[in-house]
């Protein structure tokens, strides 16, 4: 063993020891202690401001480079790249027809095909749904290769800056963050297990709150997340459900570092399972077995029981069911809105200039994603606590869900879509196509009073209508469409009009008619 040691090994060890101690002390003073007490030195905000200045400079430099070469910079536009008609399909077909009066006999016009055709091709060029499942394109460059589309316009100075950035991020920030993450998670497990030993009571819940908050705050610093909370007077209270739009697993950390929630989720194995079990010891969270998740009644019952107990914390739920790229809010699943308690909506909007927080679960796994997040500059986001909402008289769960969704979309500046986030992985349900066909049949046959033609149409409408009311899972999509009837002028039973009108609620996101 002696032969392996260098002559300078004593010095080396000493140096390593000192730097390690220094590192740890700094960590402790500047990060962990403030996290424990919930105060902030403002270091992160300073960091954010300086980074923004650097990004602006980088973008200007690239634009100048492009101008010198007489080329154009590629500029992404998330508001749509083509002009689409604001009229519904039904109206458009009626307009093209030669007479506006419903004919006594069904009348088909060969030009009807044009509207279907053009809309089909429009959706091929630019559709509202598929672009929500990939990262949003940024207009300014944030010195990460993963978001740069204008590579050939980079100058030497910019490349050097980028190189420095890589060094800083991977050599300094990443190890720091990983250490913090491990500390945070480790502390969470240890503290909650310890607290779990205490008897139930005020002391236990109070300590549990503090422990959870502290550990989440450390995790927030592990991501260098700079969060601005708005309207904290509307923070969720016991006996309610908190719903928020979902962009990434980080959402949980962001919300839980400012308040205490009961989490809902599936039981996992491995490290996640260990964390879940430990958390459960300190305060009641709701973890479901895989088999229980399918049973909607069981899920609803457990949620209602939890909510009925006023000593238990508010439940945190993400009704979209999957991660969306933070440019829009997609269909809210009605399950959490059927419980009949107060709903506290929360809107989360990430600042895209710093890095894309969206988790594309079909492309990256969780660990890959977390490493991505920890090796980027940081996360900047805003959280708005909206005033609590309750289900009104005569409103069903779907309409309530849409109302909450619209409020969240409006506050966060996101597009409000009726499409199901599940479309990320699954095909769209056939019932939507059938809606379109039904609409066209109506146009063809006419909405007249007489017997033969309208019977066919009305008959099918009725049966369709009652199926919807029965609320089977299959037709959930069409329930959504029906639910939006009152809020949209077309009275649309067809989803084209419905979702287009939905898009109209966001002034910044309308399609522009030339």
């Amino acid at each position: 063993m002696e032969s392996y040691l260098f002559p300078f090994d004593g010095l080396l060890c000493m140096l390593l020891g000192i730097s390690f101690t220094l590192w740890f002390t700094l960590l402790l003073i500047f990060i962990i202690v403030p996290a424990v007490f919930g105060v902030s030195f403002g270091i992160r905000r300073l960091y954010m401001k300086s980074l923004l200045k650097i990004f602006e400079w980088a973008t200007l430099r690239m634009e100048r480079g492009a101008r010198e070469k007489n080329q154009q910079l590629y500029k992404p536009y998330s508001n749509g790249i083509i002009a689409k008609e604001l009229v519904s399909l039904e109206q458009e077909i009626q307009e093209v027809r030669r007479s506006g009066i419903p004919a006594p006999e069904p009348e088909f016009d060969m030009s009807d095909i044009f509207s279907f055709c053009r809309r089909g091709v429009e959706s091929i060029v630019d559709d509202e749904v598929t672009k929500r499942f990939t990262a949003e394109e940024l207009e300014s460059w944030n010195l990460l290769t993963r978001s740069n589309y204008n590579f050939h316009h980079i100058s030497t100075r910019l490349t050097v800056l980028w190189g420095v950035g890589v060094l800083v991020r991977y050599a300094i920030l990443l190890p720091l963050r990983v250490t913090l993450a491990f500390t945070g998670v480790g502390l969470l497990v240890v503290l909650t297990s310890l607290i779990g030993l205490l008897p139930n009571g005020w002391v236990k819940s109070s300590l549990s709150e503090k422990a959870h908050l502290m550990c989440y705050r450390i995790c927030v610093r592990a991501l260098t997340a700079i969060i601005t909370y708005h309207d904290s007077e509307n923070k969720p209270k016991n006996g309610g459900i908190c719903v928020a739009n979902h962009t990434s697993p980080i959402d949980v950390i962001i919300l839980a570092s400012d308040g205490c929630y009961a989490m809902v989720g599936q039981v996992h194995g491995g490290l996640m399972g260990v964390i879940q079990r430990a958390m459960l010891k300190a305060c009641p969270h709701i973890w479901f077995e895989r088999s229980e998740v399918k049973d909607r009644h069981l899920v609803a019952k457990r949620l209602s029981d939890h909510v009925a107990d006023k000593t238990k914390l508010p439940i945190l739920i993400f009704p979209e069911g999957t991660c969306i790229n933070n440019t829009s809010v997609m269909m809210f699943k009605k399950g959490s809105f059927e419980i009949g308690c107060t709903v506290y909506p929360v809107a989360i909007k990430y600042d895209p200039r710093f890095g894309d927080a969206f988790w594309n679960s079909s492309k990256f796994g969780m660990v890959n994603y977390l490493l991505h997040m920890m090796s980027s500059w940081g996360v900047v986001c805003s959280v708005w606590y909206l005033p609590p909402m309750r289900r009104e008289e005569g409103e069903d769960a779907v309409q309530f869900a849409n109302r909450v969704k619209a409020a969240i979309a409006r506050k966060g500046g996101l597009a409000d879509l009726l499409w199901d986030g599940g479309l990320k992985r699954e095909k769209v349900k056939k019932v939507f196509k059938e809606e379109q066909q039904k609409m066209y049949s109506k146009v063809l046959v006419g909405v007249s009073e007489d017997s033969h033609g309208s019977e066919v149409v009305r008959g099918s409408e009725d049966s369709h209508g009652s199926e919807v009311v029965r609320g089977s899972e299959d037709l959930h999509g069409s329930e959504v469409v029906r639910g939006s009837e009152d809020s949209h002028r077309s009275g649309g039973r067809h989803c084209y009009a419905a979702w287009r009108a939905g898009a109209l609620e966001e002034p910044g996101r309308t399609f522009i008619l030339n």
Binding site: I82, F108, F114, K433
Partner: protein
């Protein structure tokens, strides 16, 4: 490569660099297999297209006879039919022939949506099939049959019980095809 793009640009008469880039980016995002070509499944993954009653016919228009892959050039060529007509005014080249987005070619595109077997005639059977796609189960066979018969009767001038392309053009001579079959870029 760039030669292919340059050729395509010439064919499309005037299309800006940024529009090509944007369409290429779109093509690439639809190409899940990342093999430089789109298959029918790639198109069907677009929810708005999947719920369009004529979705399958439109998708078919992108694929040449007997092929089931379309490359970027083919993609652009089909989309070129939907460019607004007035853009051609700026670029009158007598050698380029009729541009893809002329009124005639737009009508031909629509005609081919009806003409299932590509024999340049719309038979009663083909018309019935397309109608059935558009109305689903909501109209009876007899009613649909009589609609098809009436349509052919009105359009057919040479008595062969089917609609040729020239008869098709005549029926639609008063319709503003240019506007209905054009897609405008915002930038």
């Amino acid at each position: 490569g760039t030669y292919g793009i340059a050729q395509t640009v010439r064919e499309l008469s005037v299309i800006s660099h940024s529009q090509i880039t944007r369409l290429y980016s779109r093509f690439h995002s639809l190409d899940k297999g990342e093999n430089g070509a789109l298959s029918r499944e790639d198109f069907q993954r677009i929810p708005e297209l999947a719920i369009n009653p004529l979705g399958d016919r439109i998708i078919n228009a992108f694929f040449p006879e007997g092929e089931d892959q379309v490359n970027f050039r083919g993609f652009m060529r089909t989309l070129a039919h939907f460019r607004p007509v007035e853009d051609n005014e700026k670029n009158k080249d007598p050698n380029s022939g009729e541009p893809l987005n002329s009124r005639n070619n737009k009508l031909l595109f629509a005609f081919r949506l009806y003409d299932l077997d590509r024999d340049d005639k719309i038979s009663r059977d083909e018309l019935l099939q397309v109608l059935r796609m558009m109305v689903g189960v909501n109209i009876s066979d007899e009613q649909l049959g009589s609609i098809a018969d009436r349509t052919i009767q009105e359009a057919d001038t040479n008595g062969d019980m089917s609609i040729s392309f020239s008869e098709f053009i005549k029926v639609l001579e008063k319709v503003d095809v240019e506007q209905k079959m054009s897609i405008r870029f915002l930038h």
